[in-house]
């Protein structure tokens, strides 16, 4: 018992999650350890965290998991002190991994499916920022066939091709009212596709120490034939025709460098530093197929900056079957002052997590984690002039089932 408390005490002051609309929920073991994982290879989720380390796994492995994200945000309008809140539905980022290879083969093959980016936020009806946004939902699913090769007992390399598919749905009110005082509405809905890769190097110089380097490329998600619909007073309808639109959303590259160390056999401490190339998200452009004097293409400056995250986590083998984990991470927001908007009210913040794992037998393992984040930010958006304070609480329970054979 004492040991468990020691682990938590060590970990709690410094431990680290969503950043921009990046979703770092690709493995329960890693989530329990503050998101660390590039240097600590335990199961088939290595296909995501470090394809270079997957070749070090001895068995075939399949795993599925889900992490419901429950978030609740509030906004206090700076001038009027009016408080608005979100009624966002839960989102369900999932993972599915399968890793295969002949026993003792240096070459392993795998397929990963996961949700690396996404966001859903829905503000209450009639809220003060509704002309900037009422609802946004971004979903992405990446499918990644992967090859991992163990060069020797110390080095492993791996890479996977990423096919990304996604959806976007954005709604806002239009500040034109009909005679009953009802304002107009706009809805943009589209499907997106993109391509990229995920590569990694794993280095394990001793049985106690390992290093990992993971590079996940930018995936530019392109919407080709999105549909835009506008509900406006009848006399203005001709100026707001239903039209196709094109847009693109560059999902940034991520580089992770990590280390894992086992001072004693039962304990592993892991640390990851990540750089996320959010600078690519410079402008959000909607190019409408049909333009009218009242419906011009829109260019919204986002001006995101490259950002970093630091993650620290620990895992302790309480018994040969039971693991406990804890972690903390610090995430720096990619959003500069003047660009915070109600679609992603992000801020620098700390994320805390706990996790457990239980091995039922030599094949079957269940892992669970719980992550908590809270963030607050006051800003005046340069484009909408929306000024005020956002505060968001996020709760993420998660569970996965792993089967090794």
């Amino acid at each position: 018992m004492k040991k468990i408390i020691t682990v938590l005490t060590i970990c709690s002051p410094l431990l680290m999650h969503a950043q921009g609309f990046q979703v770092n929920l690709q493995g329960q073991k890693q989530q329990g350890m503050g998101g660390t994982g590039s240097a600590f290879i335990q199961d088939a989720s290595a296909l995501f965290f470090n394809p270079g380390g997957a070749s070090f796994l001895k068995e075939n492995s399949v795993s599925i998991g889900v992490s419901p994200v429950l978030s609740h945000a509030k906004f206090a309008d700076g001038a009027s002190s009016t408080i608005s809140e979100t009624n966002s539905p839960a989102s369900y980022p999932f993972t599915a991994y399968a890793l295969f290879g002949k026993k003792d083969s240096k070459l392993k093959y795998g397929v990963a499916a996961y949700t690396p980016f996404g966001s859903v936020i829905e503000w209450q009806d009639g809220w003060t920022g509704r002309f900037a946004l009422t609802r946004m939902q971004l979903q992405s699913i990446f499918i990644q066939p992967t090859v991992s090769y163990k060069i020797n007992d110390q080095f492993g390399i791996g890479a996977g091709f990423v096919y990304g598919t996604g959806k976007m749905n954005i709604r806002r009110d239009i500040p034109v009212a009909d005679n009953s005082g009802k304002f107009g509405k706009a809805e943009l809905d589209g499907k997106a596709q993109g391509y990229g890769f995920n590569a990694g190097v794993y280095y394990k110089p001793t049985s106690q120490l390992s290093f990992g380097l993971n590079y996940r490329s930018e995936v530019n998600m392109k919407v080709k034939d999105g549909s835009a619909t506008f509900t406006v007073p009848q006399s203005l309808q001709a100026g707001f025709p239903a039209t196709d639109f094109a847009a693109s959303l560059p999902l940034p590259k991520t580089i992770v460098l990590g280390v894992a160390y086992s001072p004693i056999k039962k304990l592993t401490i892991a640390f990851d530093a990540a750089m996320v190339g959010w600078k690519s998200f410079d402008t959000l452009t909607f190019d409408y197929a049909t333009n009218t004097p009242t419906l011009a293409d829109t260019k919204s400056s986002r001006n995101y900056q490259n950002t970093s995250a630091f993650r620290l986590g620990g895992q302790y083998n309480v018994t040969s079957k039971f693991d406990v984990r804890a972690g903390i991470k610090y995430l720096k927001s990619p959003i500069k002052d003047g660009y915070v908007s109600p679609d992603v009210p992000d801020a620098d913040h700390v994320s805390y997590s706990l996790g457990v794992g239980y091995k039922f037998n030599s094949h079957f393992t269940v892992d669970a984690s719980f992550t908590y984040e809270s963030m607050s930010r006051t800003d005046t958006n340069l484009e909408s002039q929306l000024n005020g304070t956002y505060k968001t609480n996020i709760y993420i329970p998660g569970i996965s089932i792993n089967y090794n054979f």
Partner: protein, 470 residues
Amino acid sequence: MELTRLISTSLEFLSTITFNPIAVKKILFNSFLASSVAVALFSCRPTIDTPAPTKGSLDVSKYVAIGSTISAGYADNALYHDGQENSYPNMLAKQFKLIGGGDFKQPLVDASSVGIGAAMNARLVLGPVTDCSGATSLAPIALGKEGDFTIFLTSVAANGPFNNMSVPGAKATTTVYPGYGNPANGAGNFNPFFTRMTADPATASVLSDAASQVPTFFTMSVGTDDVYGYAISGGTKDVITPSAGAPGFGFDASIDAIAGTLAANAKGAIANIPEISSLPYFTTVPYNALVLDNANATALSAAYQPLGITFHEGPNAFIIEDANAPGGMRQIHDNELILLSIPQDSIKCMGWGSMKPIPNQYVLTETEITAVNTAITAYNTKLKATAEAMHLAFVDMNAFLKNVKKGIVYNGVSVSASFVQGGAFSLDGIHLTPLGNALLANEFIKSINSAYGSTIPKIDATMYKGVSFP
């Protein structure tokens, strides 16, 4: 706090673990459930503290607004119910309730009424209008052939006294005028908008009705109508109130009388007067909207050859009446204004501005504009000096509307002085929409907070609409 609880609960949870594999299995199965329970237990909702409204040195228990057309809630060229509900004094009163403000009564007209304007007209709405050439477009049209005269014939004085003592058409000079509501004075010498709201039409002045309520706080936006009657009519009606003269005759002394009376026992805010160049009524119709093809330009040049006026292909300056010009007409200069009141069909099909000069009442010439601007500058100097001398809050409505003209963005809403689309000005091009009034009320709140150390929250102006579209 929530985090501390989360961790301590988790520790308790872990401390229950006995290393019995069966129990461990159970615990593990329960752990996912436990996380979900934890979510339910710790409130999901963040809390945000907002500053509490405080009154500083203010007492707003009895707020009276003295003013004229804009503060009466006159909009879309008429006084009507929804316009009154959205007057900025009424919006201010709602915010004042947060710091101890009382009820705010207005001389409301019936909600079903088409209202009545200065020309006995009904209020304007947007509707499809087919012009002389057969083209249909969205344009302001009166909601009826004439205004609702019952408004003038029905006294609402029994519902008073009214906190909103703003009377459409009232000037600084007429605000202090006893018997301003007395029909016995004869047409043009009394104001029927005041007659309907005063308990004593024969002897009361707007000021005496305001003062007798013993306000603890007042707003004063007086003076616009001292110059706008002249400006709106293209200089053909009314006279600009001179600065000098006794109360009731000169602007300065009238302002002193009004502010002096009200400020004797109350704190307050004084607003200044917008310049005409900020208002779409004066800026919507371009001086050179006479677009000609080559043949018409040649023909017109020939016709106007005796006056030495030539036309060319493309945009040309309109021809206007000018008694001092040769032949009584000339081309309008680029610094002169054509007013929104000009009948569009007369330009499009009747040859106004080309074959015939545009009548004087639809044009402000350079001389007239100078007279208007000189008066507004003098009035604004006086109003600011009065606010300073009496330690009252000063609201720079002129600067606010200049900013609107440049274009402002408020919580994702673009607001400008552009006619109809701009959202700030109602269909008469002079008075404000509900959105415009809300933004103006916020200017008052800003100045009041700054002058009296109060922290009255501003209005969430996104709750108010601009021009309504069918």
